[in-house]
């Protein structure tokens, strides 16, 4: 039942894409360089995901009204329905706002480093979510659906564009060192796409950063000397088997997969080894500062992976919504908890933009900063903020996005998106567009529906394009 094209997709994605990468590029099915549906501006994406809901009105969505009315009753008109509390008083941002760059973008004092990059950034202030609950909303930002089981953006891009390198995965996930975000591995699932397209999780600070990259120490019979011998003998056994079963490309692909596995064993530790990075690079990413070292290492490793042709990298800032707070879900004490999260994220994220720019890579790399929804302009308790699915901010740098622009706007409170409100569909459509993909054409038939990342929605946002 396997058609040729189907076979290539099934066996040709993700890391397996390497197995048949030469085949694929010969056939021109992969638009690796030039895009599938139209010429691409960007080749690669780094997604920075702020788990737990990073506040828009304490970062990039400047509202003088909140300063003016600080402590007054929050009365935006109509019924205010919050996730877990009744609305408290208007609460101003605990940090001071200043304008930055040529574009004069207002950024709060929470993010001094990212503030230096505003002229390279396109902000979207009018995002909305279909769910006010972390789990479904996090799914939505990743896959366009508020349910588990749908392929995330990285998986779609892996499926659509395939691999750009011969010895690393196509789609890599770097989780927060403190743990996984809500939904765990569901956030980087390939859903109904072939399993090869799911994110390969790399725990950069762990001894065994990729599951099963190397045998456990207990298997002392496997040595650097025995391994080439074993692979050679295995290859001979498989080749003999193949002789008796001619014309079966599955068997050939499996033989090739062992060669590629061996390459990965060399390239993966190499890409994660930052010991040869310069002192300047270490300082830029904050590797030697306890506050920034985890996120900084992930950003630096991400840059190394981008250089080596990894196509999609997802980096998480924040774990689950538990206590003590270890993500952006600052219901109780925003100044403390957002302060902590931002101090770990701000410098490395800015470093990534600056470093990519200095290396000439920002032109074809999209840096995409997002979160699952926003936070309320009124207080919860007296110092926290509850969820706000009606307005939040994402931003983009590089890869064909225009720098120094802001698109869409929330109301005077930063409560509801009022100008050009968008869901993630438009965001996803725009990112795919820059990668040379028409989001309406990247489909996969599953249980009777031609599924897409953008469901039945999505418009490219021309105002964001350079």
């Amino acid at each position: 039942m396997t058609t040729r094209r189907n076979f290539l997709w099934n066996y040709g994605g993700g890391l397996g894409g390497i197995a048949l990468a030469h085949l694929l590029s010969q056939e021109g099915l992969l638009g690796a360089q030039s895009g599938v549906h139209h010429p691409a501006k960007a080749k690669r994406v780094v997604q920075l995901f702020m788990s737990g809901a990073a506040s828009q009105c304490d970062t990039f969505d400047y509202k003088p009204e909140l300063i003016k009315r600080n402590g007054q009753k929050f009365d935006p008109g109509g019924k205010v329905e919050l996730f877990q509390s009744d609305p408290g008083a208007v609460m101003q941002c605990p940090w001071e706002w200043k304008q930055h760059g040529q574009s004069g973008k207002w950024v709060s004092g929470l993010l001094p480093n990212l503030a230096e990059c505003v002229d390279d950034i396109a902000f979207v202030h009018s995002l909305m979510s279909k769910s006010n609950v972390h789990g479904p909303a996090t799914f939505m930002q990743n896959s366009g659906f508020i349910l588990p089981g749908y392929p995330c953006m990285g998986a779609w891009i892996s499926y659509g564009l395939g691999s750009m390198n011969k010895d690393l995965p196509t789609f890599v996930v770097l989780p927060d060192a403190r743990g996984f975000a809500p939904n765990g591995g569901g956030n980087w699932s390939a859903g109904f796409l072939p399993a090869a397209h799911q994110g390969t999780m790399i725990r950069a600070s762990s001894a065994n950063p990729i599951y099963d990259l190397f045998p456990p120490k207990s298997a002392s019979y496997i040595t650097p000397e025995s391994e080439p011998d074993s692979l050679a003998v295995l290859n001979q056994l498989n080749q003999r088997h193949l002789e008796g079963h001619a014309g079966d490309s599955q068997l050939e692909a499996r033989i090739a997969s062992y060669e590629l596995a061996a390459k990965l064993q060399v390239s993966a530790p190499e890409v994660m080894d930052i010991s040869k990075e310069s002192a300047a690079a270490r300082a830029l990413y904050g590797i030697d500062d306890i506050k920034t070292q985890d996120f900084g290492r992930n950003c630096l490793v991400a840059r190394r992976m981008l250089e080596r042709g990894v196509r999609f990298i997802q980096i998480w800032s924040g774990a689950d919504n538990g206590f003590p707070r270890r993500n952006w879900d600052s219901h109780e004490d925003l100044a403390k908890d957002h302060g902590l999260m931002a101090s770990g994220m701000d410098k490395p994220a800015a470093a990534l933009i600056k470093d990519l720019k200095a290396r000439g890579m920002l032109d074809d790399t999209i840096v995409y900063w997002t979160t699952e929804f926003g936070r309320m302009p009124c207080s919860q308790g007296s110092k926290g903020r509850d969820h706000n699915p009606f307005a939040f901010t994402s931003w983009f740098a590089g890869g064909g996005f225009k720098g120094g622009v802001s698109y869409g706007a929330s109301d005077e409170w930063s409560y509801k998106a009022v100008e050009n409100p968008v869901f993630c569909y438009d965001i996803h459509a725009t990112v795919l567009h820059l990668l040379g993909i028409d989001h309406t054409k990247l489909t996969y038939r599953h249980n009777g529906i031609d599924r897409r990342l953008t469901d039945v929605y999505g418009n490219v946002i021309p105002e964001l394009l350079a």
């Binding site: 609950v133 399993a195 298997a219 003998v233 056994l237 599955q250 009777g448």
Partner: protein
């Protein structure tokens, strides 16, 4: 005409006839409706139909999106050309089910009627059938197919030695009689049911009572449960077979999918997100039911009428209302039917009392005296000056909060009106009586299943009565339209789509009605659906290659006559899976070799018409089980709580860590079907071999080949442990170690060339490395 079918006939058909207009026949079209004639041939501008669907906003269709400009143009053109009526042929899956005659094909190759159908098709396509596979291939294929395991070498030797004419049939009968069969085929069904043992989403809590449903499925296959009853029990076993505890366990089917803990148990009643959570929860129930049993994509009609198949949005919501009285929850049952009967009665009483109690308790909880208001304010302040995490509050604050809560209870008690208090006391007394009797029963087991009554978790409470299900405009909970009535699909000929169950009837009447609708012997979908599924698992591809979609977007059958013949044969012989399996595996088609044939491949490269057997990589479960079996460690204990092959730590979002578990811990060598299945964090080893995402309904697994797989098989600690056990087993056996290992893994002896290659390798790298190597060979992973 297809536009009328897809967009108009939902309301204007011979059953509904909105505005007395029936657009299902030439006569109905000519007659028109209340507003008179709707089509004037050759005069689109005078035709009411054209007027109603165009303009902005158009009057029709009432539900669903307006017609596209393209569609309106087509209709205009059709009217301009004379509006001639040509009834399109009924879609294949909705044609009445009749048993086709077996084609008259003569060949010595033919063993069963199936072969005649296939051979006729091969001849039609200019293809030729393949020779029969050799005996080692056959026993390996059959054992993997029916058991998900390889045969033992002894079994292979015995089969090779058995020269009796019915040797193959005896083998088939033996395999079907083994409990390993239910474990293998039950696992297939669990894919379709998207059975999982954690909730998914954020707070992916384990479901420690899901497994009784898994055991029910395995037992149903092993006992050759008639299919009709299998379906009935999974939808309404509690009502239809109330005396059988296992029929209640079967309701685990409805509860198999994900469940949003935060949305269900933490959100406040009446909020948009709560309503959305509920409607999506029911959507999952509808989707799995209609996909699994009827292979239709009814879920495509949630936001609008189905775009390709004749399914109205209204019908979709009628299906939702079938499940409006149940939620997913732990449900008690007893293996002793007598105890179970007693418990059922007590539970019914308990539910009745709880239904009366809730409004009173809700009312009481709303009582606010000035003192209570003041105290509440104080309590909130105490809570706010510390974190909302109760555990991290200072001790003195915790004490104050506890004292305040106790004081509140007293204040509340004093504030309750006397008659309310009396009524409360009476009901609570009655409840205590029931509980006392319940406690006197032996402790129950629990199954995570559809339930109309359960203990509350936060704001998650059992429905007092089936919740009203509204048709939702564009699928949005903020835009509710008319209340739906329990029902199914009108496109299936000869069956009533409206169940006529009064909204006040017990909720289970709805599920019973749907079960009866599905299992009706005239349901054209049900019987085709299940035989196609079975065929799919035997051959690696169905006669219809989209086993969950028999609609216009799905594949068409490659051999429609064969499908219908199988469906009728299966239905009329009592719905026995074992008979169906035997019918299929006894065929010459099934017994073909997988040899490549250039001439055939030129015509049918994908082997759609089955000119040979499909070579298949074994699935994740079979692979893991085969490895453990080769190591001599396979533990065939059946049933019971699932084996957790990870480190577990309960937390806000629980931690499931697969890098921290001991492969040799008890239970880890049981069959893979008994693994604990986590939604958010699937076992990486299994996932790598295409174990599907269990939040999705999987009719067909994909097979990928990746470098990550190669790494897993080379380096995964669990796999290496088995290589070590295999080595130890070979050492203990004495004699020719290489020969032993070949016989345990590949079910054959090594040939001299292999020995020449492996003997020096063994001397160089040792037995463990050799074992690891063999577990990585293509021959070990593929079944011819």
């Amino acid at each position: 005409m297809s536009i009328l079918a897809a967009r108009c006939r939902g309301c204007h058909n011979d059953q509904v006839q909105s505005g007395h207009l029936n657009l299902t026949s030439a006569e109905g079209l000519r007659k028109g409706g209340d507003k008179g004639v709707v089509v004037v041939p050759r005069k689109p501008d005078e035709s009411l139909l054209v007027k109603l669907v165009s303009g902005g906003p158009p009057r029709m269709p009432l539900t669903g999106s307006p017609l596209s400009a393209e569609e309106i143009k087509t209709i205009r053109q059709w009217v301009t050309e004379g509006a001639t009526w040509s009834e399109p042929e009924t879609w294949w899956s909705l044609k009445p089910l009749t048993k086709p005659t077996v084609p008259n094909v003569q060949s010595k190759w033919i063993r069963t009627p199936i072969d005649s159908f296939v051979l006729a098709k091969l001849a039609e396509k200019g293809l030729t059938a393949s020779r029969e596979a050799d005996r080692r291939t056959l026993i390996r294929r059959l054992t993997y197919d029916l058991h998900g395991l390889p045969p033992t070498m002894e079994e292979v030797d015995a089969f090779l030695a058995d020269r009796s004419p019915d040797a193959y049939e005896k083998l088939v009968d033996r395999l079907l009689a083994s409990p390993r069969y239910g474990e293998r085929w039950g696992r297939h069904w669990l894919d379709v049911a998207h059975y999982g043992e954690s909730h998914g989403f954020d707070k992916d809590k384990p479901r420690r009572n899901a497994w009784p449903y898994r055991d029910y499925v395995i037992a149903a296959f092993n006992n050759d449960q008639p299919y009709k009853r299998f379906v009935e029990e999974q939808l309404a076993g509690d009502a239809l077979y109330g005396g059988d505890p296992q029929a209640t366990v079967a309701l685990g089917f409805i509860a198999g999918g994900p469940w949003d803990f935060v949305g269900q148990a933490e959100l406040r009643e009446g909020t948009t997100d709560k309503n959305m959570t509920r409607t999506l929860d029911r959507d999952d129930m509808v989707t799995v039911t209609m996909s699994a049993f009827t292979s239709v994509t009814a879920h495509c009609a949630r936001c609008h009428d189905h775009k390709f198949d004749p399914i109205k949005q209204e019908e979709y919501y009628n299906l939702q209302s079938v499940f409006a009285g149940v939620d997913r929850a732990d449900r008690p049952f007893d293996s002793d039917p007598a105890v179970f009967a007693a418990r059922r009665q007590l539970l019914a009483q308990r539910r009745e009392l709880a239904v009366k109690l809730r409004p009173i308790e809700d009312e009481v909880s709303e009582i606010k005296t000035p003192e209570i208001i003041a105290l509440d304010k104080q309590l909130t302040e105490w809570k706010e000056i510390s974190a909302t995490d109760p555990a991290s509050r200072p001790a003195e604050i915790q004490k104050k909060i506890a004292e305040g809560a106790a004081r509140r209870k007293e204040l509340l008690k004093a504030a309750i009106p006397a008659d309310t208090a009396a009524r409360l006391a009476e009901l609570r007394g009655a409840l205590a009586d029931v509980d006392k009797q319940m406690n006197a029963l032996p402790k129950p087991q629990y199954v995570y299943a559809a339930a109309d009554f359960f203990e509350p978790i936060g704001t998650f409470r059992f429905p007092l009565e089936p919740r009203p299900v509204n048709l939702l405009q564009r699928g949005s909970v903020d835009r509710p339209l008319a209340v739906s009535q329990p029902g199914a699909l009108s496109c299936v000929p000869g069956l009533k789509s409206q169940f006529g169950v009064p909204l006040t009837a017990p909720e289970s009447d709805r599920r019973v009605a749907l079960a009866r609708w599905i299992t009706d012997q005239n349901n054209t979908l049900t019987w085709r659906s299940i035989v196609n599924r079975v065929w799919h698992y035997h051959f690696g591809a169905g006669i219809v290659d989209t086993p969950n979609d028999f609609g216009h977007m799905g594949s068409q059958p490659t051999n429609a006559a064969l499908l219908d013949w199988l469906a009728v044969e299966f239905r009329d012989s009592g719905g026995s899976f074992k008979k169906l399996h035997k019918l299929i595996v006894m065929s010459a088609v099934y017994r073909q070799a997988s040899d490549y044939n250039e001439a055939n491949a030129k015509i049918d490269a994908g082997n759609q018409y089955l000119w040979r057997a499909n070579r298949q990589r074994i699935d994740a479960e079979s692979l893991r089980d085969s490895i453990v079996m080769a190591a001599g460690k396979l533990d065939l204990t059946m049933g019971g709580p699932s084996v957790e092959q990870f480190f577990f730590k309960d937390d806000h979002s629980p931690v499931y860590d697969y890098s921290r578990f001991d492969p040799d811990a008890p239970g880890n060598y049981r069959r893979s079907v008994y693994r604990f299945l986590v939604r958010s964090m699937p076992d990486p080893l299994m996932e790598r071999f295409d174990c599907p995402d269990i939040s999705m309904i999987t009719a067909k697994r994909s097979t990928t080949i990746t470098a990550i797989q190669a790494l897993a098989l080379m380096n995964n600690p669990f796999v290496l442990k088995q290589a070590e056990h295999l080595a130890e087993r070979a050492r203990m056996a004495g004699g020719d170690q290489i020969r032993h290992i070949f016989r345990w893994t590949l079910q054959r002896d090594p040939d001299p060339k292999e020995e020449a290659l492996l003997k020096p390798y063994l001397a160089r790298e040792g037995l463990e490395n050799l074992c690891r190597l063999i577990l990585n060979t293509n021959e070990f992973l593929f079944v011819d």
